[in-house]
């Protein structure tokens, strides 16, 4: 149904809440992604697994390469400051940050749904956060 209109229709508050957080986080994550990758490929930081070793094995199935190189997986690079401050680990962290963006956005949006008297969507948002966090623990793939 189309209608002539004088002004733009208002956008719901929960949409604006989601968009506001998404905007900030996506810009930050992309900057971090670029910076950490530059530190990785230009060897500004040490690496857990060298780029040459990685490239020599990237034709192998992930499980085989993992067994051979013990490259960072999941949260393993957070085990100690030494394993964290490495080029490959920081690049990996940037990917993790991108994957966590929907979680943070939904956590900010769920209260807005409850405030706007749309509790079903508040519950759906929280259930979605739960699913994403369960995936992030890695318990499903062990």
């Amino acid at each position: 149904m189309n209608q002539d209109t004088l002004g733009k229709p208002p956008v719901q508050n929960e949409q604006l809440a989601y968009a506001g957080v998404l905007d900030k986080l996506s810009h930050f994550a992309m900057l971090f992604l670029g910076g950490s990758y530059a530190a990785y490929v230009f060897l500004l930081l040490p690496q857990k697994v060298s780029i040459n070793a990685m490239a020599a094995n990237w034709h192998l199935k992930a499980s085989v390469m993992q067994e051979k190189l013990n490259a960072p997986v999941g949260w393993s690079f957070m085990a100690s400051p030494e394993s964290f401050l490495r080029g490959d680990a920081l690049s990996y962290l940037a990917i993790i940050m991108i994957c966590m963006i929907p979680v943070v956005c939904l956590l900010f949006t769920a209260p807005a749904f409850f405030r706007e008297k749309r509790p079903i969507f508040g519950v759906i948002a929280l259930l979605q956060v739960l699913i994403l966090l369960v995936a992030a623990t890695g318990m499903l793939v062990r």
Binding site: M1, D4, V11, Y18, A19
Partner: protein
């Protein structure tokens, strides 16, 4: 070795331009083509493909949501179902032999190319009677259409059937590392009766959540290599921006034919690789 990263960046850049001009997501082009022409194992290509699709959706999401085009009430129930199945799809995909996945990928890509070739789209579908579930959830909306300077109000039907479709789409997206916008949009638009622009924008929201869920499986299985994923993300995002600028200047119909042909070739190549040929 860094040269291969640069090649992935350039290749993704070109794919990004074509993806926007053809109106398809980046992931659906990235996985079959990169897995056919680069030396990377399919596991890492699928991991990178998910990130390419997810990053594109995330970076485009905020303005679409502020304009009321990406709709949370429409997208969240679909994403909730799709994220569970995308995790399952990723787990199944990574447990199968590469040849099997390559063969199945070939079948899926050829099917997608066929659907893209045959399917239509509807700018403003009319839904006379919304279904009971969408009424109960108040899934409907209104947005301002700049091109005709009018408000467009919309409502949906066939929500339960669409949930089943999103379950399947999530599984396929997670299994093959595809963004699945190619499937989200027709389900929103043609099945549920959502206006095309709202369908495309909300598909990005669904894709960002489903992709984030499945990406963890790839990360914990060691199938996410920053060396491949990061330049691919950068190339695709930059290419998409250029593509968006070119959108009004080129014949998108011709580009769509080229992209469908590229998909068909990549799909057939995947099939042959799957058969060991």
């Amino acid at each position: 070795m860094v040269g291969m990263g640069a090649a992935a960046f350039l290749f993704s850049f070109v794919l990004g331009i074509f993806a926007v001009l053809a109106g398809v997501g980046g992931g659906v082009l990235f996985v079959p083509i990169v897995s056919s022409f680069f030396p990377f194992h399919l596991d890492y290509v699928r991991g990178a493909g998910l990130m390419v699709a997810l990053s594109g959706a995330i970076s485009a999401g905020a303005p679409l949501m502020r304009k009321g085009l990406a709709d949370l009430k429409l997208g969240l129930p679909m994403a909730l179902i799709g994220s569970v199945s995308s995790i399952a799809g990723a787990m199944v995909g990574l447990s199968l032999p590469a040849e099997t996945v390559q063969l199945l990928l070939g079948i899926v890509i050829v099917a997608i190319a066929t659907i893209m070739f045959l399917s239509g789209k509807s700018g403003y579908p009319e839904v006379k009677v919304p279904d009971a579930l969408s009424k109960a959830l108040h899934i409907s909306g209104i947005y301002y259409e700049e091109s005709i300077k009018k408000e467009i109000s919309w409502q949906v039907h066939r929500t339960p059937l669409s949930l089943v479709f999103f379950l399947m789409i999530g599984f396929i997206g997670g299994m093959f590392g595809l963004g699945a916008g190619f499937a989200n949009v027709p389900v929103f638009n043609l099945l549920m009766g959502v206006p095309l622009k709202v369908s495309v924008a909300t598909s990005g929201l669904v894709l960002s959540i489903n992709g984030a869920a499945a990406a963890w499986v790839y990360m914990f299985k060691g199938a996410m290599l920053p060396l491949i994923a990061v330049p691919s993300i950068g190339g695709m995002m930059l290419g998409s921006k250029i593509g968006a600028k070119l959108l009004t200047k080129v014949n998108t119909g011709s580009v769509r034919v080229i992209v469908v042909s590229m998909l068909a070739v990549a799909g057939i190549r995947s099939l042959l690789k799957g058969f060991g040929i």
